[in-house]
Structures are given as structure tokens and as C-alpha cells.
């Protein structure tokens, strides 16, 4: 197994190219002027500037959280840029055809050529490079159904009343250090609104990618599903290779009104740093949704990237009979660190939640599942089932499971099961006896281990997840 671990540690990042797009940078550091600059660049209304400034002022009173089970040198928040926009090489593109060819090429390398997407896949993509949404496809089809899917900036311009009503309603600007920072400086992101009774006619997808050096990326995603609406939202992330660490502190808010159904899937493959732990993304993200009566929010994530991941997609089960789900596969190799999990807050009667977390740790990586299941006194008949399994590959990695279960209602039923083990030698031998090489055998066993989660992904992402998993574990065997 030692050779395997060695190879695993030495795997290189496939998406580590760097696009040569002119970018416009804000001066280094953060102060009220930078916040005003960002707001002005985006031509924002006064209320939003005030909202940002309030968040900024609160942020200055906070210390970065230290409770996570991750280690990194302190981040100098005054030594990075808070704004980076691709400089338009002329007037803004009126259609896809006018998008900067370099940007288009970037997407092509990512395998998500916009033109291809538009023609073939039937997936609407809101592509984001660094902070500005450059093109949105399928707007017309969506508009017919009454679905709004656009960049956050556009939403601020075109639908200010919706943004104002829901922004910060699930993740308040004061929620935590990084949420406050994001609220102050968020540059762009996606906005999605599905009106009452509408089933969104296609999967919605955003592809995030970080390009400029030393820029933090702070996108803001807001998804609103009105009564009885249904939407499935996909988010994919990659970033180029760089020696410095880049900070990504995003906020995703989901408002699921009564009887709505929101599915949010993430495949995250950001640059994890090199074998010595140099470079890589710091991925500190706040994701949370709130369910109305009979509403359902389902988070599915496949996380293979980033130097450090820190995120807990959560559901506030406010409505009666509401449902929250969290399906997660996290793979850490090399010197990656991940502290991830979920919170399920049961408030409504008969609210139900399911947590399935599969962690794979290899090389010298450290991975932590951290989860909270909280049943408040009002949540009569609440149910939770949690399954949390960790697989270790190699003797130098770690897998940690830190659940918190707090039950304040006697009628609740809360169950938690967890296990940690290495890939069994017996399973490997069984596969090898059937002619499979060690690498194929490991990959097969790991994919089987994750199957419950992959089954939750939309089809096109499930394929990608399998491939990513294989890539992550490449050289892990054989």
C-alpha cells in the first residue's frame, strides 16, 4: 500500500491551467472604501451599499473562527484583492458569440463549452470567472416558465424587490466571520427564482472558477422556490494551480417556501495544493436553507478539491412535515484538510432529516465530519437518521467524526451510526482474484462505498463524480 499512497500523494491537478484574461483588480486590502468601490462598480442601490457596510462594520468586530479541526497560517485579510473582474475588450457581449474567446477557451478546457452546453446538454449554465457572471444561457426558455436565473448583479438591477426580500433571510450578515465578510464584499453569484407551482424545466448549473492570483472569491447564491415550486441546481467548481492560497468564502442561501422542493448538488474540484501543501484553495463556505411546511431541501456534495474545506450545508426545518437531506462524499488526499458536515435544525412538527456522509482519506490528509442534529421542543414527531462512514487509505491520514445530537422533544427519534475502517485486504484480494488490478479494485470498492451518495446526483454529475473519484485516487493502487 505504501507505493500507492506515494503515488496518490504525487497525483497532479488536471485542471491547473491559467487563462490569460486581462483582469481589473481592486487595490489590496479591505476597508469601507473598498466596499463602496465594489458597490459602485456594480452600480448598486443605496440600500445594498448600506447592507454591505453594516456587514463590514460587524465583521471588523469578529475574530476568524478557530474551532475547526484544520491548520493553516493566519490569513492576512488586508493582503488580498477583494475585486477582480475580467476587463471587457470592448462593449459587453450581447450574446454568447461575443464572449471573449479566452474565456470561452477556459470553459472549453473545463469541458463545459457554453456553445456545447447550449446545443447539446439542455443544462442552463451561469458561468462565473472570478467574480463576474459572463454569460447566461437558456434565459429565454426559463423566462417562458417564469423562472429567473441570472447573475446576482443582474438580479439586483432587474429584480431588486426579490433580492431585498430574501437576501440574508437565511444566512444573516452577522451569522459568522466569513458570512459577514462575504456580505460586505460579495462580487457576484447566481440568483434563481422559481415562482409558485412551477417545476423548473431544466437543471440549472453554475460553474465556478477562480482565475486571478491572490483574489478572494466571494460569490453569493440565492435560490428562492415559491410555494409548490421544484428546482434542481448544480454547482461545479475548479481553480487554476497557484502557489499562493486563494480564499473562497461563498454564501449560498436557499428559501424553500411551503410544498417546494429544492435539490442543490455540488461537485467541487478546486486546486488542492501541491504535494508539500503549497497553494490550493481555502474553501470556507456557508450554505444554508430554510424549509416551509412540507418543503424539502436536499444537499448533495462531492468534494475532492481545495487545500482546506470548511463547510456545513444545513437545513432549518421550520415547517411542519418538512424534509432535509445531506448526502456527501469527501475525498482528501495529499495534505488536504476538510472539516465538513451539516446541521439539521428541527423546528416543525414531523420534520424529517437524513444524513449520509462518506469520507475517504488518503496520503497525509486529515478529514473531519462535524454535524449537528438539533430537535427543538416544538418539533414533535421529528425524525433523523445519520450514517457516517470513513474509509482510510494509508497509515498517515486521519478520519475524525464529531457529531452533536441535541434532542429536546421526547417524541423525536434520532439515530446515528458511524464507522471507520481501512479498505479491507479481503475485499481487495477477492477483486484481484477475479482479475482486477489493485487500482481498479480500489476504485471499484470506493465507488461502491459512495454509491448511496452518487445515486442522489443528477445523471450527468454522477458520471463526472465517478470520473473525479477515479482521478483523485489515481495511482492509489496497482
Amino acid at each position: 500500500m505504501t507505493d500507492i499512497v506515494q503515488e496518490l500523494v504525487e497525483r497532479t491537478y488536471e485542471f491547473g491551467f491559467h487563462s490569460d484574461i486581462d483582469t481589473e483588480l481592486a487595490p489590496r486590502g479591505l476597508n469601507e472604501d473598498v466596499v463602496r468601490l465594489i458597490s459602485a462598480k456594480k452600480d448598486e442601490p443605496e440600500w445594498l451599499l448600506e447592507w454591505r457596510l453594516a456587514a463590514y462594520r460587524h465583521w471588523t468586530t469578529l475574530e476568524p473562527p478557530a474551532w475547526q479541526n484544520v491548520h493553516h497560517p493566519p490569513i492576512d485579510f488586508q493582503d488580498m484583492h477583494y475585486w477582480a473582474a475580467p476587463k471587457p475588450k470592448g462593449p459587453a457581449p450581447a450574446s454568447l458569440d461575443e464572449v471573449d474567446p479566452e474565456i470561452r477557451a477556459t470553459f472549453d478546457k473545463l469541458g463545459i463549452s457554453l456553445a456545447e452546453q447550449e446545443r447539446l446538454s439542455g443544462v442552463a449554465v451561469d458561468a462565473i470567472i472570478d467574480s463576474v457572471s459572463v454569460a447566461t444561457t437558456f434565459k429565454a426558455t426559463l423566462a417562458e416558465a417564469g423562472v429567473i436565473f441570472c447573475s446576482f448583479s443582474e438580479a439586483v438591477r432587474e429584480h431588486p424587490e426579490l433580492v431585498r426580500r430574501y437576501l440574508g433571510s437565511v444566512v444573516p450578515p452577522r451569522d459568522n466571520f466569513y458570512a459577514a465578510l462575504n456580505s460586505a464584499v460579495f462580487s457576484d453569484g447566481s440568483f434563481c427564482f422559481v415562482p409558485a407551482g412551477v417545476r423548473c424545466p431544466m437543471e440549472l448549473s453554475t460553474y465556478f472558477r477562480m482565475n486571478a492570483a491572490e483574489t478572494g472569491q466571494f460569490e453569493r447564491t440565492l435560490i428562492v422556490a415559491e410555494e409548490g415550486a421544484t428546482v434542481s441546481y448544480l454547482e461545479g467548481c475548479t481553480a487554476p494551480m497557484r502557489d499562493e492560497n486563494q480564499l473562497h468564502a461563498a454564501v449560498v442561501e436557499i428559501v424553500a417556501l411551503d410544498d417546494s422542493d429544492v435539490k442543490y448538488s455540488t461537485v467541487q474540484n478546486w486546486y488542492p495544493g501541491d504535494e508539500n501543501g503549497v497553494g490550493g484553495i481555502f474553501n470556507f463556505v456557508t450554505k444554508r436553507g430554510r424549509c416551509g411546511h412540507r418543503a424539502k431541501i436536499s444537499w448533495t456534495q462531492v468534494e475532492t478539491g481545495s487545500a482546506i474545506t470548511w463547510k456545513y450545508p444545513s437545513v432549518i426545518l421550520q415547517g411542519d412535515d418538512s424534509v432535509g437531506e445531506f448526502y456527501s462524499v469527501a475525498v482528501t488526499t495529499g495534505r488536504q484538510q476538510a472539516d465538513t458536515g451539516t446541521k439539521m435544525i428541527h423546528i416543525g412538527k414531523n420534520s424529517r432529516s437524513t444524513i449520509v456522509s462518506k469520507g475517504i482519506s488518503a496520503g497525509r490528509a486529515q478529514q473531519t465530519y462535524r454535524g449537528l442534529v438539533k430537535v427543538l421542543r416544538s418539533a414533535t414527531g421529528a425524525r433523523n437518521h445519520t450514517q457516517c462512514d470513513s474509509l482510510l487509505i494509508g497509515s498517515e491520514c486521519g478520519a475524525h467524526t464529531f457529531p452533536y445530537i441535541e434532542v429536546k422533544n421526547d417524541s423525536a427519534q434520532v439515530e446515528h451510526e458511524a464507522s471507520t475502517s481501512k479498505i479491507s485486504d479481503d475485499q481487495l484480494f477477492y477483486c484481484r482474484q477475479r482479475g482486477l488490478g489493485e487500482e481498479d479494485a480500489t476504485s471499484m470498492i470506493v465507488n461502491g462505498f459512495c454509491r448511496e451518495v452518487f445515486d442522489e446526483l443528477p445523471m450527468e454529475y454522477a458520471v463526472e463524480a465517478h470520473a473525479l473519484m477515479r482521478l483523485s485516487l489515481e495511482g492509489a493502487v496497482g
Partner: protein, 410 residues
Amino acid sequence: MTVAADDVMTEEAVHARTWLCEHGLPTGREEDWRYTPVTEVRRHLDALPEAPPRQREVTRDDIDRLAGQHGPVRIVHVDGVHVPALSTDALPTGLWFGTTHNLSARVRLQLTTPAGDPPDGFEALNRSASQDVLYLLVADDADLREPVHVVHVSTGASVSHPRLVVDVGVGGRIHLVESHVSLDGGGFTNASTTVRLSARSHADVHRVQEQATDAVHVGRLELHHDAGAHASVTALSRGGAISRLTTVALLREPEASCTVTALLAPGIGARHDDAVTVDHLASRCTSDLTVRSVVPERARVTSSGHAIVRPDTVATVAHQRTDSLVLHPTGQADSRPWLEIFADDVRANHGSATGRLDDDALFYLRSRGIPRAEARDVLVGAFARTLVERIDPPSLRDQIAGWFGPEGTA
């Protein structure tokens, strides 16, 4: 709080006092103490006098009534002071007993916990303030199957710091029953027991906390395992308005093992916090933790299990299982079953379930004519029984079964 005078203080006590002055008692912001109502504990501590105003006479009958009689050897500690008159004179071969006052400095030094800094403020307070530490030594290969019963009595509204150190020689064996009881209410007990297990030794520890319903109890049980040593711990907690028990097993050498069983049955409105850490520091160590709690009206029970598997160890097995039965809508149950694993050759798992009595079972019993309250007792007894049945000696088993009504052992 006052601290024992320097002339009777061991080096350990002096060090602990210095540490305590620097670090103070824990706060609820510390992860290990987030579920303990530390503020209330400290308030209670500050309000009480350190020494009892006047030690009320404790009789043999009091001990029998409060703690029971669980073996031929009984050692009684009243408000942290050894009382020879209430204790057994004759000790079996292979068992040696002493206290701070009759131990030479050299022996005391040998028995002093090797660790430097106290792990937390309450332990530091205990080390610095305990006036009369009890020492039990089991000779190499001595096989003490008859229980040794140590009874700590709190006489009333004062603070006591009972401290017990048990050292089991190579291949030795002891069965220890430790009872914490109250003569009168309102006291604060800050207890600490350390059991050092030499190679291939075996300790069976039953720790019973049955103090007054308005008492505050903070306890620590620490086990140090050498190679091949095994400890079986059964913690039985019922008393106290607030009760916090920290159990730490340090499996320091290969093939050490421990099983920890806890049964938590607080009274109405009480807070019980049970925290068990098993640290697998060497290879081929195994641990098994089972906790059951019964949570009545307005009570809150927290059960934390923390299994740590250190780097470069192999063939570790670590199991945890926590079940909480909430009896009333105002009861609360928390659990925190943690695994922290730094080596791959490990089989670790934990399971936890929280719920109330099974309505169908309750209905079934009632349909057979059993009144609701009684049916409830039967089911609660059944929930506790799997753990109660394993209690030894039988006299103690019967005593604990009595917590769950007459059906407890049925």
C-alpha cells in the same frame, strides 16, 4: 476555597495549586465542558464553606443504609477524611491500604500520578485540596475477587474533595466498588479516582453516585493501562442536581483493553453529563463503551464518548453505543459520540439512538391490564436491565435494580 496547609501537601498538590491559580476552573466555552452547567457548578462551589461547620457523627448504620454492604472490606471516607472507626481493620493478603497521613514521602512520591499538569481545573482543585488521599495497593499476582468497598460520604452543605489512588501490581486483580453518598443535602463533591494497572492486571470498578438530589457532584475516573491490562468500569449515576463524570482510559501499552458501561438515571430536573474518553496510544488495544440514560421530567442528560486512535498503532478496535430514553416531553438528551482516528488499521464504530418509550409496547402492557405508570416502569426497567444484569456483586445489582422499581430485575 482554601487549600490544605503546605506541611501536608505533596509535590503534586503544590503543583496543582500553582496550575489552578494560573488556569482556574473550566468554563462552558471549553469544548469538554459545553454541556456541563459550569456557571451553576461554580456558583454552588463559591457559596459553600470549604470545611464542614461541624462534622455530624456518621454511624455504621448510616453507611449500611446509604451505600449498602458490598464486600468484606469497607473503607470509609467522610468529607474527604478517612475514618478508621468505620472502616475494616483486617485486609486480605495482597492488599495494602494507606492515606496521606500514614505514608512516607517516598511511597507517596511513588504513588503520585506521573503526569505533570492537571487535565482540568476541577482535578487541579481536587489534587491541591484533598486532605486525606486514600491509597490502595494490590500486590503483583494478588487475586482479590471479593469486592473492596470504598464509601465517600458527604455530610451536608460543604465542599469535599475525596481522592483515591489504586495501584494494581503486575498480574494482580481487584474488584473495587466505590460509592458516593450524602448524609444531608446541599453538598458539593469534587471526587477523583486514579487506577493504575500494571502489565496483565485486571480491575473491575463499579462507581456508584447516589448523592442527595440537591447536591452537586463532579467526578473524575482515570485509568492508566500497561501492556495487556484490562479494566471494566461500570458507572451508575442517579443523585445530584448536577452531576458530571469524566472517565478517561489511557491505553498506553499494547493489548490493553477496557469496557466502560454507564447507566445514567437522574432525578426530575437534574443535569447529568457523562464524558468518556478512551485513548488508544498503543497497538492491538480494544475498547467498548455502552451508555444508557433514562431522562425524566425537566432533566437533561448528555453522553459524550470520544475514542482516539493514535498514529502508528495497528489492530485497534473501538466500539461505542449510546441509547437515551426520554420519559417526558420536557426531558432532553444530547449525545456526542466522537471518533478521532489517526491510523488506518482500525475498526471503529459508534451508534446512538434517542427516543421515548415504544407506544406499541406500552399499549400492549396496558391491554393486559397493567396500569400506565406501572407499564412505564416495566419498560424502563427492561431498558436498563441489560446493563443492570451485568452488575456484580449481586448485592449491588439488587440495589441498582431498585432504582427502576420492583420490576427492575424481573
